[in-house]
């Protein structure tokens, strides 16, 4: 009830500030708020639907392999029907109830279509191109969370596949940079995006989460040596761009929170450089720092949790892959630890002052 009062207060405030210009559709807002209050938006149900959808897909693929394995045409028709059905179902029902079925059909559709086309001897580029086209078209048709989320993942997945199929591994850097910048843009310019277009507004959270998970997947590829072997060189290319993006984010935050004096500003930039410079050969680590900073800045909990987990994992993996003796590794870690603790000790009082106001 109190939340509703807060909404009323906010609407009243907006009304007095903007008057008629606001063109507030109170009836629709009340309707959506009522639906919103009734939907359980906890992560639990989303995870449940995703787990159900993925499990359903896996078993369904087992069925396809065993039952219609010898008919390529039947598989293709089945794949198209599944994808089409999922998109229509998602468009028709906004409720989260059918999410598991939608995800299951949608992903199984991709897999079955892809397999059928592969059996028909189409080239890998053509198949990936077709699936990419479907992933781009889907968000144009439906605004449902799950299909938009998985479409963003599919788009980055297809681009990644295209790069790998054509052995153009260095383009991975371009893809990483594009996803990093896209993710940062979506996060930082939320207000502009949701105010600009109601259709975009509807899809905003799905795209934000889709970009987040695409970025993490790419960072995993960059951060785990076993995944890219020697195919990928010059890891610093991605890292430098990500560091520049973090620099831009720092600048944005410093402006937004109105840091009072020049000294603090310079201190923030110097600290930023000190933390980021050692990550110049570890794009996965600076990438996870970007996720943490961005998510904390805009209050995106899923991003923050994923970012922290990614940071812990990628830092561990980085040290594991490092070709130094344990003694040298230990020295590097102790030195970093001492650096962080010294910084904490020096800044403690100043930070306390800011925390209190």
């Amino acid at each position: 009830m109190e939340t509703i009062n807060r909404v009323d207060q906010l609407l009243e405030k907006l009304g007095t500030e903007h008057g008629e210009q606001l063109q507030l559709n109170r009836l629709e807002i009340d309707k959506e708020l009522k639906e919103d209050a009734h939907t359980y938006k906890g992560l639990g149900i989303k995870l449940l639907s995703i787990a159900g959808g993925l499990l359903g897909t896996a078993f369904f693929l087992g069925f396809v392999f065993l039952s219609v394995a010898n008919s390529k045409e039947a598989q293709l028709v089945l794949g198209i029907l599944l994808m089409g059905g999922a998109i229509l179902l998602n468009k028709a029902s906004k409720s989260t109830i059918l999410d598991a079925a939608c995800i299951g059909c949608y992903l199984a559709g991709y897999a079955v279509t892809g397999i059928a086309m592969a059996q028909m001897q189409y080239s890998e580029n053509f198949i990936t191109g077709v699936l990419l086209a479907v992933a781009i078209i889907t968000p144009c048709i439906t605004s449902g969370f799950m299909l938009n989320f998985f479409s963003v993942l599919m788009i980055s997945g297809c681009l990644f596949t295209l790069i790998n199929v054509n052995d153009a591994y260095q383009l991975i850097h371009v893809l990483t940079v594009v996803v990093a910048i896209g993710y940062t843009y979506i996060s930082l310019f939320e207000a502009d995006l949701i105010a600009g277009n109601p259709e975009l507004n509807n899809r905003y959270m799905a795209w934000l989460n889709g970009m987040l998970f695409s970025f993490i997947a790419l960072l995993t590829y960059l951060g785990v040596r076993g995944l890219h072997y020697h195919a990928l060189e010059n890891l610093y290319v991605s890292a430098i761009v990500i560091i520049v993006v973090i620099g831009f984010l720092l600048h944005h935050v410093v402006r937004a929170i109105d840091v009072p004096d020049e000294r603090s500003k310079i201190l923030i930039y110097i600290m930023g450089c000190l933390v980021l410079l050692p990550t110049i050969f570890a794009p996965a680590i600076c990438g996870s720092l970007l996720i943490i900073f961005l998510s904390y800045s805009i209050g995106h909990r899923t991003g923050l949790i994923m970012g922290i987990m990614a940071l812990v994992y990628f830092t561990g993996q980085y040290y594991y892959d490092l070709d130094y003796t344990l003694l040298v590794k230990s020295e590097i870690m102790l030195a970093s630890g001492a650096l962080f603790l010294t910084a904490w000790f020096i800044l403690k009082k100043q930070l306390k002052r800011y925390e209190q106001n």
């Binding site: 907006l14 787990a51 078993f59 598991a100 040290y319 870690m333 630890g337």
Partner: protein
């Protein structure tokens, strides 16, 4: 802090249904505390620097001893770790710092106790991965964990207890089958939740964050699910005794948890328990049909999707009846 604020979703809805200017939306996102303000960033930097400092230092110490430097005399090795443990504990006891910072340092000290036992094992060849290493570690941080009031430390402690049990089974030669050990771990973790809740109710511990109960419950549910699934596949060879007890334990504990969830209006248990049941039933279908035909896969696939859909529908309806206005 006390007054509930407007959520991001509400702002999105209002923006969708009006011509609310972007600049104003951004200001509202700041005002409503959705975007981090200066105080939040200061707090973030404070905790992040300390946590990174402690984590890197402890990791550095672990790596240092893992290197097993032969030139270093054994007493120096033990002395360094013991010195660190004593120093950190002195900071916790005597320094005038925020409780949360003391708790982070205490968690670091607890990990150092593990390093101490590892170094001891390394020097005197007790076998660094033997169960007694984990048992010693668990026993010697029990009091700290209990009085720390710090949930991450409770979790570390409980993880150590679980590891000790598994290693005890493997190394001392009890050689219980997998489903027995799963049942034991289930009992241990469920007891941990019950004891923690009791201690919280009688105010021995002041704070018990929801994530502690949720994580431990998830662990317990995974244990019993794996145990039963394993039992379903293996019962023809190992007998159905343990499987029967596991199912009975699951029925009793799940029943109590569902009752607790409904009386406390909490959806979490109602999410994880049905998933466990769905996994068990899926395994059971696969086991009784025992054939690799496409029809079985189709049946299982439909069962999974339909049961999850029904579950989600049920949860949403329940949530509506709890929190809905009409």
């Amino acid at each position: 802090m006390g007054t509930p604020r407007v959520t991001r979703n509400v702002i999105h809805i209002i923006s969708r249904q009006s011509k609310w200017p972007a600049k104003d939306i951004e200001n509202t996102l700041h005002d409503e505390g959705i975007y981090a303000d200066r105080a939040a960033w200061a707090r973030f930097t404070d905790i992040a620097l300390l946590a990174l400092g402690v984590a890197f230092s402890v990791a550095g110490v672990i790596f240092f001893f893992a290197y097993n430097w032969h030139n270093l005399h054994k007493f120096v090795k033990l002395g360094i770790v013991q010195g660190l443990v004593i120093a950190t504990i002195c900071v916790v006891l005597f320094a005038k710092i925020q409780p949360v910072i003391k708790q982070i340092i205490l968690a670091g000290a607890s990990v150092l106790v593990g390093v101490l036992f590892a170094v001891f094992g390394q020097i005197y060849q007790t076998g660094a991965d033997a169960y007694d290493f984990f048992l010693g570690w668990t026993v010697f941080i029990t009091l700290w964990a209990l009085f720390s009031g710090f949930a991450p430390l409770y979790l570390i402690w409980l993880l150590l207890v679980n590891i000790t049990i598994v290693l005890f089974n493997n190394q001392v030669g009890l050689s219980w089958p997998a489903n027995t050990i799963c049942l034991v771990l289930f009992a241990v973790n469920v007891s941990a939740i019950v004891i923690a809740q009791l201690l919280y109710r009688i105010k021995v511990i002041n704070e018990l964050p929801g994530y502690f109960t949720k994580l431990v419950a998830l662990g317990a549910v995974c244990c019993i699910t794996i145990g039963i699934v394993n039992g379903i596949f293996d019962h023809r060879y190992t007998g159905a005794g343990i499987l029967g007890i596991s199912v009975l334990a699951a029925v009793v504990v799940y029943g109590a948890a569902v009752y607790y969830a409904i009386t406390n209006k909490s959806l979490y248990f109602l999410c994880i328990i049905p998933v466990s049941i769905i996994v068990i039933i899926t395994t059971w279908i696969a086991d009784i049909t025992r054939d690799d035909s496409g029809a079985v896969y189709l049946l299982v696939s439909l069962f999974v999707v339909i049961s999850i859909t029904v579950l989600v529908k049920g949860l949403i309806t329940l949530n509506k009846s709890w929190h809905g206005n009409n």
